[in-house]
Amino acid sequence: MKIHTQSFLLFVFSSMLVLRSAVVLSENIIGVAPQDEEYYKGLSSSGTIKCKDGSKTFTKTQLNDDFCDCSDGTDEPGTSACPTGKFYCRNAGHTPLSIFSSRVNDGICDCCDGSDEYNGKIKCKNTCWEAGKVARDRLRKKIETFQEGVTIRKHDVEQAKLLVAKDEAELSRLKNEENILKGLVQQLKERKEQIEKAEEKERIQKEKEEKQKKEAEEATVKEQKGEEKVNVQEQESKGSNSEDDGKIHDHPPLGQDLNKGPADPGVSLAHDDDDDDDDDDDKDASVDNIEQHAEKNEESSKVAHEHDPSPGPGSKEEDASENAESLSREELGRAIGSRWTGKKAEQQQDEDAGTARNNDDNEDDETSDNAHEEEDSGYDTETEEDHQHHEEDDTEDHMDDVGGDEADDDSSEHKYESDDEMDMSDMEDTSNPSWLVKIQQTVRKFLQAVNPFQTPVDTSESESVRKEYDDASGKLSKIQSRISSLTKKLGHDFGSEKEFYSLYGRCFEIKENKYVYKVCPFKEASQVEGHSTTHLGHWDKFDESYRVMLFSSGDKCWNGPYRSLTVRLRCGSKVEVSDIDEPSRCEYAALLTTPALCLEGRLKSHDHHGKGTRR
């Protein structure tokens, strides 16, 4: 780098000397670029030359005589007479510049050497040296960055090759393991089924025996018959109760359903219904509330529109049933009931802070579309009161909530595929080949040792088989999910040299006023404000030969398009997102610096450019 700087300054000095000699040329040559000087020399020798576009010829006196003779402006390089002309400023000490002829003598200093303002109306200071210095410093920094970036990029590319190879190796190994494991699981399954058959047989046998025994008893104790009937009825009624439970679990998408459901008048229902907001207003139409309402309404409309494109049928259903599983029956009853009654949910919140917090989390989830769904166990018991709670709560509370949730948000970069990571760690032991051997041996042992035809079945052995089966099939599904995530990952286009590989699984953030913008290449982009997340787009593709990342199909804008983000890429030694902007409604733009864009070829051209200024 030092060598660069020194030679650089040397060039600057020599360029000043060169310029002095250039000034000696005719004064009419003002505005002429050095490469054109030869062309204008024709005037001195032959008296007339052709306009560059061949439209006309002009004489020496017509050169820069402030009258446009050539429609392409060639006779007026130094005046504003021809609208299509260009004026060349030498800008000694800085970069030469070709400016529109409309800038000549317009009272605004455009060239740092002031040569574009020569009619005496204003005086332009020559700022080339200072500006040049700034530019040179900037360029030097840029070159430094570039060099650094090139190095990092090289490393990244090599690394990516290794990692991709590793991923591929892992993938093929996992596929292999999957095959083996599939076989084992199949065997275990068969064995398990055999055992179960045997057990069933045993059970039937037992029942038979018991029945016979009972019948014998029955015969002896005839007067107790009526009582027994009651018992049977009791058992039956119990059975039907559990069926009811099942129905509740299967409740259709709750929020939506409730909106349409026959609601108690005056009671606010699910959060993403618009009507409930109105009820709200009817209660209190004071100015402040209306304002709040306005904002709230925006939020809820946002939510509402998220469901617009395709409301993802079933996802809520799943949530609900998951909820139901994790809740006691009483809690579930309250939760569902609170959608009608509202009040009780509040009580429940007081009683069970944990649940309340979960509800809060859930709102994040709501607005962030699928963003967190993989990570969060969805929870869909949002109520009007919860919403109220959000509106009225101190923001601090939210901050706490959010902070607790996303502790690593403060850093400008983080990894997003926590599921992936977990899988990885899990797989760490599965990827140990001894494990596979072990499990194979175990299974073999079982298959040999356990005799399904043995009666009575050895309960400890059947337990072991069952456990072995559960273990093996659990591991199989983990392997399969790892395979699918690896396949998905390797399916991405990481660039011609896989130079973008290192961006996979990472997110980059920038805080802009009250928003935090998150850009996760190959995944998604979002805008977070406090507790609400707006989805700016899913990963779409690279564009403009890897100079642009496109994220599309984000949350729908009200009355507008689906949000999208265009990330322009620039060479930088660090990966950083900057300059986030929304030039058109819901069409976002950002800049991302990354070493991936630091191409050696470009560095050379920069270097060259740097030298150019010194001429």
Binding site: S71, S300, Y515, Q527, N559, E582
Partner: protein, 955 residues
Amino acid sequence: MSSECLLPKPTHISILKNPYYDHHTTDRSTMKSVVVLHCFLGFILLLSHLNSVYSWKKEEFRNCNQTPFCKRARSRKPQHCNLIATDVIIADGDLTAKLITPKENPHEEDSSSNPLILSLSVYENGILRMKIDEDPSQNPPKKRFEVPDVIVPEFESKKLWLQRYTKQVIHGDSADSFVVYLFDGYEAVLRSDPLEVFVREQTSGKRVLSFNSHGLFDFEQLRVKKEGDDWEERFRSHTDSRPYGPQSISFDMSFYGADFVYGIPEHATSLTLKPTKGPGIEESEPYRLFNLDVFEYIHESPFGLYGSIPFMLSHGRTRGTSGFFWLNAAEMQIDVLGSGWDAESSIMLPSDQNRIDTLWMSEAGIVDTFFFIGPKPKDVVKQYASVTGTSAMPQLFATGYHQCRWNYRDEEDVKNVDSKFDEHDIPYDVLWLDIEHTDGKRYFTWDKVLFPNPEEMQKDLASRGRRMVTIVDPHIKRDENYHIHKEASKNGYYVKDASGKDYDGWCWPGSSSYIDMVNPEIRSWWADKFAYTQYLGSTPSLYIWNDMNEPSVFNGPEVTMPRDALHYGNIEHRELHNAYGYYFHMATSDGLLKREGGNDRPFVLSRAFFPGTQRYGTVWTGDNTATWEQLRVSVPMILTLGLTGITFSGADVGGFFGNPDTELLVRWYQVAAYLPFFRGHAHHDTKRREPWLFGEHNTELMRDAIRVRYTLLPYFYTLFREANVSGVPVTRPLWMEFPDDEATFNNDEAFMVGNGLLVQGVYTEHAKDATVYLPKDHTWYDLRSGTAYKGGKMQKIEASDAIPVFQRSGTIIPRKDRFRRSTVQMENDPYTLVIAVNSLGEAEGELYIDDGKSYEFKKGAYIHRRFIFSDGKLTSVNLATSASEGTNFLSDCTIERIILLGHSSKPKSAQIEPSNHAAEVELGPLQIQSGARSSVLTIRKPNVRVSDDWSIKLL
């Protein structure tokens, strides 16, 4: 229009599906959609409806049937009026009479009515003024409202004091008619029984304009409320208490010798006003004049829009042009009656003349009307201008291109947009900031995050000669910490509701009150708010935009203020509604005048307007839509505004709502470049549409359109001066220039810029060429190629890259062909004169120059030349009256090029006097552009100064 039941519906749910309304808290990136509209019970939000296709909600506005006075007036039959004129005398130079109902035949409705007072006054240049009001000596319950501050003070000095009348019996009437002098060859006649007031040609006796020829005059006099009177009116959820009861006025007005009638903006309709009632006309609404913020107005509708000018013109081949103006600020409805509408009545009218009858209906006020005799189109607009004033002389910068968007978000955005214009070498003069620049829609404030350094930003723009415009609306946020609100509420400066409390409506900032601008004291207070010390962050390069001044009230009846709201002087809002925005505009304009000590011409754009608005600023056609139809209708809308006094007007280029196709956008630029006010604007839900965003070719086309405008600015500025002096608009319907060419009478797709340029818009997709009618008896030179076309027929013109524009033979047009960043840098650039000779080898044109910003021109500091070309010699003649001492305007500008179109000989050089030097004559391009062919006769570098007398003789 379907008629809707007048009864209030059981539930009143008003929903405005208006994104413009909905985004009042719009923030830079979260979508903020707020639907605000309420019925008295509260707010109803039905977001589920919001995604559907939005469009004009006609049910939210009253139609004639839902408007009792309109319904009543419209249902009356001819010969309804039984008033007669008595006690006719000359008093104070006026002819006055009492209008009474004859005793022997008492009218059943008005048996107890008092006499009305009618007065006729005559003014210079053929203007008859007729006033009818209640007799003050009869002590009516309330003085009816007369709109002050509209008629220019000079007008009174033009009054001709009538000395005598002559009596005459007309059509075998039983009573005398009274005839007074009006103008050379014209008389005004008061026919007493049946009552009629008309203007006639003296010699032929032919009627020109006639009031009440069909006896539809009706004047509801104010009376004391009797028990059982129900004066309330209900519309949707709103109730109008109407404490003064019915007070409407209606009458018929006939235009003789008329083939078409024009005027009465603002409506999105054709230039010629189609009949709204009569045989063969299906259910139709009258033209409504009621200033309204109409969301997504449609391109063919008689419905009222943002402004109102009750001035109608008629034109016919034989008679020429007449005009009629009713100064009244209440809601007005006007029917153009189709021929044969009166077939069933037994009225006998002169049948040898074409006639167009019209019915005028107003909810309140008085009859204060003006009859303009013409007879030439320009005479009528001049006559109207002598009553309401000519248009203000704009600053030069305002005639350039304006770039607006809702919203340029922050200082960086502003910087970027500004620098992109330079990057693409596209000139522009003004960058605009919409409501989001404020701190929470508190006008006169800045959003501290988005615009932390407004002064610096303006100074930076100004360093390249550019101005900025910010928006200031009349609704004031009811926020105790907002200084404007604090002062206004403390001083009682707000409009009051019917109960006398500050009226509280809803607009962008939420709960808002509205400054009562009718009061001069309040206007003066408001004007002071524009002082640099008051409007913090404002600089001398900042100008103002008044929006929402109809006024727009989101939760008011028909999105405006209740009619029973009260203004200063106990004036009901119903009486002055249409003038509210005018007073606001006036006060703002005065503010800009004040802040620079009265020597910087204000620039204030207003959406609402009224007669007189032309004296205060510019208007635009409001929230149009990005469709071809709206591009098409913008032309007649702007031409109509020009005919009715407001020449400095334009439409949002590209269309406010929606995303224009690239081709539409390009075509819009191409047409709008020739219209007086030239501003690109867009709704914030739309994609960015600055001219460089659509590929190099389209950038070039749009740049070209904008540049042509800039090259023609000397011509435009000269025309603005003409409008300022005479009232003749900058852009004119063809018939104004060619009143004898019938083919032009209803042409509203082409228009004239001055008398020299004919512009034909392209209003359809994929057009490769355009068919244009070129008026007869002239030769027309294509502005780009110089090709000559004969007039009097349709011509098919290639139009793929530009719209057809022609210079008329016999004219000289001044241009500045050098391209600059903005008008400021063009100041010293030399001129090009383009001479298009007529069949006699002659041509004429004018050039007006002043400093482009101050009022020094009023003291004579300007250059005004007439260029006359005749017998192969061009002469520059001074038109300026000698300036007072020390106020000469000096310019070193020269003429660098003179282009001759249609000149028969081939001169080699030209002799210039008095300097006695020669200039070369050669073939050069008509427009300098790369690859231009040299084909037109060009005098090279005559280098005469524009300020001097000189002549150039072709040799």
